[in-house]
Structure formats: structure tokens, C-alpha cells
């Protein structure tokens, strides 16, 4: 079977890597090409770049960033953030992304998912979903970096997106993002039992145990950010720990 993937995520604003907690208080964390290359050397299975620029000028950097990162990267690259239409996705794919993630625009216009899947194939079409707990009543989709709650049920949304042709789900727990308290495993179980496409767990990773929990909850990949950017650990040491726990990752 395919090995579970460890995927470092770079949040990029105006061409620079940034980090924050719950998408707020962003601070500079370096150059995307240097960082992507370093994580590739550590054994990353894929890289995700999410452009979090607030302005159209800032977002213009995303294509440039993609192109520069591609030159050094011999592993898959997923790029998201600010993809509003098919042309935005095309520009990123032509620049060197292997997959494109859509989020807010797909919530506003779900037919965008089908258009992307038809044009580029499901294996290129990633739906990013930010999920916030709704008390004891499941999770709702939040958009615009967590600023807007949509009232839409996460599991239903993902099910309909899979039917429209999404090939992979990047599922971020808004409650856990940047907190290092572990992934929201109930959220992962709810989603991975509802759909048959790959789900990437995101939001809250701190330890190899957290990654293992996500994989045992049905995720086929785990996104990691803060703990790598802060130098708390490396991809290879996480992988060694997972291997010693009997999880077969790519060595």
C-alpha cells in the first residue's frame, strides 16, 4: 500500500514564509525556496504552499514562488490560497504546482471544483477545508482565514465536493491550528469514513504520536508546520519515530 505522507506546509505572504496561530499574528519565517529545499532533504514526501497574502499584489508572488520552488523540488508540490478561478489554477500548474488547492472560492461557487477536476483531473484538484467545532454538533466550514463562519456542515460539504470531483481533502482544524495540541481526531474520523478520497490531516501537530493518531484515524497524510519552522523537530526524526512505532513511512 502507499505509505502515509509527511507534508511540511509553508504559509507564504508576499513571497515570504510566515507563521502564526489560528491564522493570526503572522511573523516572518524565511525564504520559501530555502525552506522547501531543506524539508525535501529531510525526507518530506510532498510540500504544500498556502499563499496567505491579503492583497492581489501579494498574491502575484504566488506564481513566482511556485516557479522558483519547482526548480529545486523533485517531490510533489501543492499550492493553494487565493485560487478564485480556473485561470488562477492554470497559472500555478504551469508555474510548477502538481496540485492546486481551492478553499473560499469553492464554498462560494462549488461548481469551481467540477471545473478544475474536468480541466486538470481529480488528482490535481485539492479541496482545502477549514473546520471549526460547533459545540457538540459537529463542525462547520469557516472561510477567509477563519474570519467567516459559513454555517455549512463540514462532512456534508466534503461529501458533495468529492462527488463533484475533488481528488484530495486538506482538512484543517481551525480550533487546533498552530496550538500544538494534536490533530482533531474526531473530525478526521468523521470525514475519512464519509469519503473515499485521500484526506490530509492539518492543524495541531506537535509529536510523532499526534501524526500516528491522525494516520490511525484514517488520514493518508499529515501536514506539519509550526514544529518544523520552530526547529522543534525535523521530518526525518518524525519519520524515524513513526518507523520504530511500526508505521511504514518512506524512509
Amino acid at each position: 500500500m502507499a505509505a502515509p505522507r509527511l507534508i511540511p506546509c509553508l504559509d507564504v505572504k508576499d513571497g515570504r514564509v510566515v507563521k502564526g496561530i489560528r491564522f493570526q499574528n503572522l511573523r516572518d519565517a524565511g525564504d520559501p525556496v530555502t525552506q522547501a529545499s531543506m524539508y525535501q532533504d529531510q525526507g518530506a514526501d510532498e510540500i504544500v504552499i498556502l499563499d496567505v497574502s491579503a492583497t492581489p499584489e501579494g498574491r502575484g508572488h504566488a506564481v513566482e514562488t511556485t516557479s522558483s520552488v519547482r526548480q529545486v523540488l523533485s517531490i510533489p508540490l501543492t499550492v493553494g490560497g487565493g485560487v478564485r478561478k480556473v485561470e488562477d489554477a492554470l497559472a500555478l500548474l504551469e508555474a510548477g504546482a502538481d496540485k492546486v488547492a481551492v478553499n473560499t472560492a469553492a464554498v462560494e461557487r462549488p461548481e469551481l471544483i467540477g471545473r478544475l477536476a474536468e480541466r486538470f483531473g481529480s488528482q490535481c484538484t485539492v479541496l482545502a477545508v477549514d473546520a471549526a467545532r460547533r459545540g457538540d454538533d459537529g463542525w462547520e466550514v469557516v472561510v477567509e482565514g477563519g474570519r467567516t463562519r459559513t454555517g455549512q456542515d463540514v462532512v456534508q460539504w466534503i461529501r458533495s465536493a468529492a462527488a463533484r470531483g475533488a481528488g484530495e481533502i486538506l482538512l484543517t482544524s481551525w480550533d487546533r491550528d498552530g496550538t500544538r495540541t494534536g490533530y482533531d481526531l474526531e473530525l478526521l474520523e468523521a470525514v475519512t469514513t464519509a469519503v473515499g478520497i485521500p484526506v490530509i490531516a492539518s492543524g495541531g501537530a506537535d509529536t510523532a504520536d499526534h501524526l500516528q493518531g491522525a494516520l490511525e484515524s484514517g488520514a493518508t497524510a499529515a501536514l506539519i508546520a509550526s514544529i518544523l519552522h520552530d526547529g522543534v523537530t525535523t521530518v526525518d526524526s518524525l519519520k524515524r519515530e513513526l518507523l520504530s512505532n511500526g508505521i511504514e513511512v518512506r524512509p
Binding site: M1, A2, A3, D45, Q71, G96, C124, G167, E168
Partner: protein
Amino acid sequence: MRTRLIVVPTGTANTASVNAAFRRLGVEPKFAADPDEIRDADFVVLPGVGAFGAAIDRIDEHGFREMLVDRFEEGRPTLAICLGMQLLGEKSEESPTATGLGVIPERVDRLPQDLTVPQLGWNRVVPDPRSRFLEPGWAYFANSYKLAPIPEGWIGATTDYGGNFVSSIERGDVLACQFHPELSGPWGADLLGRWLNGAGGRS
């Protein structure tokens, strides 16, 4: 003389990774503009992203079919990647009305329904020891469809995803991979290097 490596434009995008991989190996790829370029090139790469039917339509629109089939039949240095490998078959469950290149007498089927599909991730490649190009290792896959079994007259590699499927086949200087060598890290780069160096026809 410079090595001529021609990429067949089968789809809308995603050749940037293939181009970047060959550039890192010191070869500058160029898109095929007309069928003669496919005939004359030292190396041809048939990448593939998107649907079987759409890619075949694109090949036929450009009039590339005959030159491609000739290269594959003659075992000239030609690399087919992912959907590109599936295009060698006769038919695909993905696009039942489309006619593949028919270089191998096989049909492309969907991966079993009870699995996570598409297969997106790294998986083990187990090559026939007689393979000229392949070594055992981990490769990156992004596929919903598969070929099985290894066609007669070809040397192959298999990979397990709810049962074995064909992850690579080779014959002469033709190499076809279900995985993406350009996205398979150093293992994939080494494979591309062996194909460039080992395949004949380099001018």
C-alpha cells in the same frame, strides 16, 4: 551536438515538473510542435495528466499518433509517464469510446472501489531483476486507473495497491512508468539519468 529532448503536449499543464527534472540533469526539454520533431528527436517524453480521452484527442489533433506508435514499436528512446503509460493500452475504463495507442494489447481499469482513490502518495516499486533502468525503491504515484498484467515481450515492475498493478514496463529504450519519476526524489532523478545515459540514439 545538443541532446534533443521533446515533450509531447498531451494536456493542459503539469509539464513544469518534468521540465524542471530534466533541466536538473542538464537537458533542456522542448515541446513538440509538429510530428516530425517526434520522429527526429533523440528522446521523447509522453507525460500525461488529465483524462485518457482528452489526452488521446490532443495527440490526434496534432497528428502525433503515428510517430509516437513508431517510436514505441521500434524501441527508440521514449519515456511515458503516468497517464502516458496508460495511453499505450488499447482502451481505458476512464474514457470507453477513446482508442489508445494500442502499443500493448491491454485495457486500463479503475483501481478497486474499496480503496482510497486516487492513489496519491509514495509506494514501493519492485522491478524484474532484468530491468535495465529500474531499481527497487519508492516512487510517487497519482493515479485512479491501472494496467495489469505486464504485457508479453516487456520487462516490468509491480507495485501493491490492493493487489499488484504494473508500475513500470520497458522494452528496448522505451520506458513507461505509472509513477512520476520527476516527483520521486533522488530515486526518480537517478532513474531519469539512467534512461538518458543508457538509452541509445544520443547524438
